[in-house]
């Protein structure tokens, strides 16, 4: 079973990279860009047929390693 995990900084946490990227795009002439936050993306394949169990495993990976829960949020999607 395949999943994608998107990790982004929590809503109120400063995103220095996102800020610089946004300003640069603005400067390059893209004027209707309002906000931009950057993050990480993982594609994960697990050997599991039960969706609930598979999701549980991915969730565990996120909590244990992939995500810095102090400053980051994450979303899991089945793909």
């Amino acid at each position: 079973m395949k999943f994608s995990v998107t990790v982004t900084l929590k809503k109120d946490v400063l995103d220095p990279q996102g800020k610089v990227i946004k300003n640069t795009l603005n400067d390059m002439g893209i004027k209707n860009l309002n906000n931009l936050r950057q993050g990480k993306y993982f594609e994960i394949e697990v050997n599991e047929t039960n969706l609930t169990l598979a999701e549980k495993t991915v969730n565990e990976m996120c909590k244990k390693l992939l995500v810095n829960l102090i400053i980051e949020d994450y979303k899991i999607n089945k793909i």
């Binding site: 900084l9 929590k10 809503k11 109120d12 946490v13 400063l14 995103d15 220095p16 800020k19 610089v20 300003n23 810095n68 829960l69 102090i70 400053i71």
Partner: protein, 726 residues
């Protein structure tokens, strides 16, 4: 919102303190005002438990331009040059999020230095972790080291020195102390004291987000199991923006537009505005609608208490707005007038055209509580180590065991992650007794070193305090610098505990004595209490950062053997004080007994005479003898060079281990070229200095007469072993 006892306690204020707030205001505060009081009255900003003792420290001297109380201390290094420096802790945030905690610690201390008009020229650090075996240690260590490097490397200030130590006392409460050193022209120093009424108050730098709200209170509260819940308050550092802010501020400081300037550190806008007004004896009015916010719907409470990084507050001279704004525009930074100075002596906060808070400045600063907390000196238990009671060990095995221990192993794997060379004035990188930085475009230099000795301070706080100032002094002497002044970061446990307060008082008494005797004043510093978890307090760990001057820079001096067949002279007397030594700790896991005694008179005479010899260019290399004693000091000199040494057995002291591993103070090892020996010995005799000829340098092998012989290559390998296997 009604202020309940629960809310008061949540703000880290005692009910008595709350009573005092009501008395000072003559009414109940609203939540915003309570938040502001809590930020200003907490330990971190008010120094309420430490002030009584800090006042005793010597802070004056003809080299001192500015002592404690400003963003950083300033000393005179001759001509029109001054050095600005300070050390600060970022312990609690670093334990919660090591990378960001350490990074923002570096960012904060850099701002303290460039706020005063100085261009930062060096960063140092003192980092302490729990036992390497503790499950959290490795990730904390890696996180802190990358955080320090990440910030310093990016902003382009060399990280040139520091110390990394391990001790189980820090298992649940690591220490991350960062020191910054800057250079400024004497007539271009900027202070935080506001002057003049109706002057513009300008906000510059990053926008305000909900970062670190209550960070300052957190830094002053003991950890408990729930400290995980406090996590979202950790700020994220943005070294790129800080670099822009630094360049913009330094550019603006070229002329006289700035009346006063203060960085927004702990307690952000609150402490910066209150401090500026308080020092100037003025009021300040802020229009919170003008604050550049990063998030939507931020409340006045959040704006005033946010600890978003990379921000400054400036009080600007009339008629300078446009020109100053252009500079910040160039660097893509906000430059916004958010208020003005007033004659009311109040902090007045407006939001949506209404006054939402009004507090007398004095109530927040001078009227803040000051405690003369009860304290008692701990009883010290004597302990005399007797070799007969313990298993025998060979000298060689003891040496190897110490050199492979986490505390004594080579730390290049850390310092190689820091850019030590950027700015092209690093004459001597870390790894020696002190780093040397050339003053840009001049032929003089400063030496800097950071030191601590928690074990000594734990076993006897008074002697420990005395010792650590001396050790720092020796480290500067050993590279040929005249020690000028220090900054201190006082890391202690819970001050409400009498014994901890006793450790603090005693350590400070020791620091005071040494500083007075050596004419080595304290010009800046920081106190960090409540280091510990669930009533388990850390060892008292005062960290001393010293700055010395090398008036005329020639070939830099360090601890690396330079030649073969040169004589090795040990300055200072060896009594063989083995209690509290690294030998007993590493070999027998013993940490009982008293630290070595400090004889300040010897300390001063020996140091001054060594400096004289160095200045006369009679010394090839020099090293102070500290942690690990004579043998470790000699091994360190050999390992980093291409030469070994042959050392004689002692004549007087019968016990080899006491001789080679004893940690008697005021000692140095000097490498002297044969032809200079008689001259050197004459000078030593004329100055009544005790010395011994202990051997000479030789090719390849490190040797103790009929005891051990190891090739320096092997020694180097042994010393690098620990981390490779960690």
């Amino acid at each position: 919102m009604k202020i309940t006892d629960h809310i008061v306690e949540k703000h880290g204020l005692s009910l008595n303190e709350y009573k005092e707030i009501k008395r000072l205001l003559d009414r109940e505060p609203n939540l915003l005002e309570l938040g502001i009081f809590s930020a200003m009255w907490n330990e971190h900003c008010s120094y309420k438990s430490s002030k009584v003792h800090l006042k005793k420290l010597p802070t004056k001297g003809k080299q001192v331009i500015q002592g404690p109380g400003e963003n950083a201390g300033v000393i005179d290094i001759g001509d029109d040059d001054a050095i600005v420096f300070k050390i600060e802790s970022h312990n609690h945030p670093s334990f919660i999020e090591p990378y960001q905690g350490a990074a923002t610690g570096v960012g904060g201390i850099l701002r303290d230095v460039f706020t005063m008009g100085a261009r930062p020229i060096a960063l140092l650090n003192s980092i302490h972790f729990g036992s390497p075996k503790h499950f959290k240690t490795k990730s904390l260590l890696n996180g802190v080291v990358s955080g320090i490097g990440g910030y310093g490397n990016c902003i382009g200030v060399p990280t040139v020195g520091g110390e990394t130590k391990f001790n189980k006392t820090y298992n649940e409460n690591i220490l991350v102390n960062a020191m910054a050193v800057g250079h400024v022209k004497k007539n271009k120093i900027f202070y935080s004291k506001a002057k003049g009424i109706n002057k513009s108050v300008i906000y510059v730098g990053s926008k305000t987000g909900r970062d670190g709200i209550h960070g300052a209170s957190m830094a002053s509260a003991e950890f408990d199991e729930n400290s995980d819940e406090k996590k979202p308050t950790v700020q994220v550092g943005d070294p790129f923006t800080e670099k822009l802010l630094m360049e913009a501020c330094l550019e603006l400081m070229q002329d006289n537009s700035i009346i006063s300037i203060q960085d927004m550190g702990a307690a952000g806008l609150t402490s910066s505005s209150v401090e500026m007004a308080s020092k100037g004896g003025l009021g300040i009015e802020l229009d919170l609608d003008k604050i550049p916010c990063r998030e939507e719907n931020m409340t006045p409470y959040e704006m005033m208490l946010s600890e978003s990084q990379e921000r400054m507050l400036i009080i600007l001279e009339d008629g300078k707005h446009q020109k100053s704004k252009e500079i910040f525009d160039k660097w893509d930074l906000d430059f916004i007038k958010i208020g003005k100075t007033t004659s009311t002596n109040n902090l007045t906060l407006k939001f949506n055209k209404k006054i939402v808070g009004e507090i007398p400045i004095d109530a927040l600063s001078n009227q803040a509580p000051m405690y003369n907390r009860e304290w008692k000196s701990r009883k010290v238990s004597k302990f005399n180590f007797n070799f007969k009671d313990f298993k025998k060990i060979k000298l060689e095995d003891a040496l190897i065991k110490i050199l492979t221990s986490p505390n004594h192993s080579n730390k290049d794997w850390i310092t190689n992650q820091y850019d030590q060379s950027v700015m092209c004035d690093t004459v001597q990188k870390s790894g020696s007794d002190a780093a040397i930085l050339r003053i840009h475009n001049k032929d003089k230099a400063i030496a800097v070193s950071v030191d601590s000795s928690a074990n000594y301070c734990k076993s006897h706080p008074f002697s420990g305090g005395k010792q650590i100032v001396c050790e720092n002094w020796r480290n500067l002497i050993s590279v040929g610098a005249k020690p000028l002044a220090i900054t201190n970061c006082l890391n202690f446990g819970n001050p409400e505990n009498k014994e901890i307060m006793g450790e603090f008082a005693d350590c400070l008494e020791g620091i005071k004595l040494s500083c007075e005797f050596l004419k080595y004043p304290v010009v800046s510093g920081n106190v960090s209490f409540y280091n510990g978890t669930n009533k388990k307090n850390i060892y008292p760990t005062p960290v001393i950062g010293g700055v010395g001057l090398i008036r005329k820079l020639s070939k830099p001096l360090n601890h690396i053997f330079q030649k073969e067949q040169s004589n090795l002279i040990l300055i200072g007397k060896t009594f063989g004080h083995i209690e509290q030594s690294c030998f007993l700790k590493e070999i027998y896991s013993l940490d009982e007994g008293l630290p070595p005694e400090i004889n300040l008179l010897n300390e001063k005479n020996n140091g001054e005479c060594v400096l004289k010899l160095i200045e006369k260019k009679l010394v090839l290399s020099a090293h102070d003898v500290s942690d690990g004693g004579l043998l470790i000091a000699l091994a360190e000199m050999a390992m980093s060079s291409n030469y070994g040494a042959k050392i004689k057995k002692p004549k007087n002291l019968t016990n080899l281990f006491k001789y080679f591993f004893g940690e008697d103070q005021a000692r140095y090892i000097l490498e002297i070229e044969k032809k200079h020996c008689s001259k050197v010995e004459k000078i030593l005799k004329d100055n009544n200095i005790y010395y011994e000829n202990i051997g000479f340098t030789q090719k390849e092998y490190f040797e103790i007469e009929s005891e051990l012989k190891i090739s320096i290559k092997d020694l180097f390998k042994i010393n690098n072993q620990w981390y490779n296997n960690y």
